[in-house]
Amino acid sequence: MSNATPSAPFAGVADEQRLRSILYRGAASAFLFALPIIVFLLIWETTVRLGWINATILPSPSNIARRAWVLLDPADPAKSILLTHIVVSLWRALSSFALACVLAIPMGLFLGLNRTAYLIASPLLSLLLPLPAVAWAPIFLVIFGQGDITIIAVCFLGAFFPILYSTIQGVRAIGRHSLWVVRSMGASRFDIFRRVLLPGALPALISGLKLGMAHSWRTLVAAEMLAALTHGLGFMIFAARSYMDVSTMFVGIVCLALIGLLIERGVFGSLEALTIHRWHGNGKVGSHR
């Protein structure tokens, strides 16, 4: 504390001023970000109101908002239709993601550490990696029929390969030297795992998890359109098509985008801040896949 502030009161004032300027700048950038969106929505609204666009195909934003309010039914959250769809979709996406993590991370660690196994498995992996997860849906539809199992299995495959691939890349990027150094200093296997492998592979691992969750969420929409029986956002959108209920479709699209964004920015953003940025000092994340 050699360069401590000379006197407390002034520091407090400076801090307050800095805080205020940060707040001000944040508000200004938020406003600048929101302004084009608001203008865009206003233009959309007026063109629909003036009848330039067919309202049965492209409903006005106010119409969509009203529809969302009706579906959300805030008076009775337990019976809200929209909330039920969202919860069912989230449950499917998260359970398939968790399953993918449990299987893909250990497998990725093994393939990353064992060079021979990696060399043997790599042709099979590069064949399976570009295969769209949705392509499995017809097989599961025949074997399991429509329902949760098919959807979760398809989303699982969507999340599995990105996580596996990133884990392998993360472990392989660590380099033998740091492993040798730690081993020669007598670290136990668990120590090597906890202090070298995990922190070293973490940037790639987290970007893999992020990618896996995004894939799982995006695959979910298609899987729910193909295989859901009663609930789920994808089902809601696809079912609304039979009734030409375009407002409901747009409500579903907005929900899908918002939840996807929340998971990516909120969950994984804070996870990165908690681990990588703390362990690796500056915010350099090995984002190159």
């Binding site: 084009p36 969420w217 985008a257």
Partner: protein, 280 residues
């Protein structure tokens, strides 16, 4: 001061025998072949349900028959592949052209970025396939729907990568071109396009992956008669499981070809040959 080194066993680092010679290629082939052979045997012996898991030889036979003149309709598989490729290529080339133009516009103009970046960043997280029902309503079950879904899947990546490529471009090159009186068109074709070419290739590569995934799903939801995605979904409605497995194999093989061979060749012929990647 002499140190006794006789006790230290000198060990040279040698490659383990497993990683040299024929062992690895054999093991690679075995990893793919052994499950297939096991599947074949189990299916033939009736150890697994032959309806759900028909023998691989039967699947390949079905593929062969369906792609020949005796298929139903004749040459069916070839038509499915041709239709899928047509949709993929037209959607992808639309995405490359429009994405490049929009990306250049966003990258070059501060004002355009202020206006359009928020709109693009709220449209980007929407899962591409969520647009399918809307497009189905607007255009019906049609090639246009699938092509537009493919376009939407690839275009955002293109815009993003091209715009960031322009940010990496050296401003001095633009100054030089401008000060020597280059026209807008000359600047675009002679400075910007060569400058962002590596990004363009990377964007196309990523976009092809996204587009391929979106295409298969879109064909399942929105194609009426042809396309690989349509083929496997239609087969699942009739419980025609052999066609499904065959279709999935075709999709895997084509995806591999697209991602690794085709785009890899383009990359090797352009970026790596010019050595642009090393300059960065």
């Amino acid at each position: 001061m002499s140190v006794d080194t006789s006790g230290i066993r000198l060990q040279r680092y040698t490659r383990s025998p497993a990683s040299s010679g024929l062992a690895i290629p054999m093991a690679r082939i075995a990893l793919i072949l052994v499950p297939l052979v096991a599947w074949e045997v189990c299916s033939r012996l009736g150890l697994i349900n032959g309806f759900l898991f028909p023998a691989p030889s039967a699947i390949l036979n079905k593929l062969w028959v369906q792609s020949g003149p005796n298929g139903n309709p004749p040459y069916a598989i070839l038509w499915h592949v041709a239709d899928s490729m047509l949709r993929l290529l037209s959607g992808l080339s639309l995405a490359v052209i429009i994405g490049t133009l929009l990306g250049v516009g966003l990258g070059m103009s501060q004002r355009a970025r202020l206006v359009f970046q928020p709109i693009i960043s709220i449209l980007m997280p929407v899962p591409t396939l969520a647009w399918t029902p809307v497009l189905l309503l607007v255009m019906g079950i049609d090639n246009r729907t699938t092509i537009l879904v493919v376009f939407l899947a690839a275009v955002f990546e293109m815009i993003y990568i091209v715009a960031s490529g322009i940010e990496m471009l050296n401003v001095k090159m633009l100054w030089v071109a401008w000060s020597m009186g280059a026209s807008r068109r000359q600047v675009f074709w002679r400075v910007i396009i060569p400058g962002i070419f590596p990004c363009l290739i990377t964007g196309t590569r990523l976009g092809t992956g996204y587009a391929w995934r979106a295409l298969i799903a879109a064909e399942m939801l929105a194609a009426s008669s042809y396309g690989l995605g349509f083929m496997i979904y239609d087969a699942s409605e009739y419980m025609n499981i052999g066609v499904i497995y065959g279709g999935v194999m075709m999709i895997a093989a084509l995806g591999y070809l697209l991602e690794n061979v085709l785009v890899g060749k383009i990359e090797a012929a352009t970026i790596e040959k010019w050595g642009v990647l090393n300059e960065r």
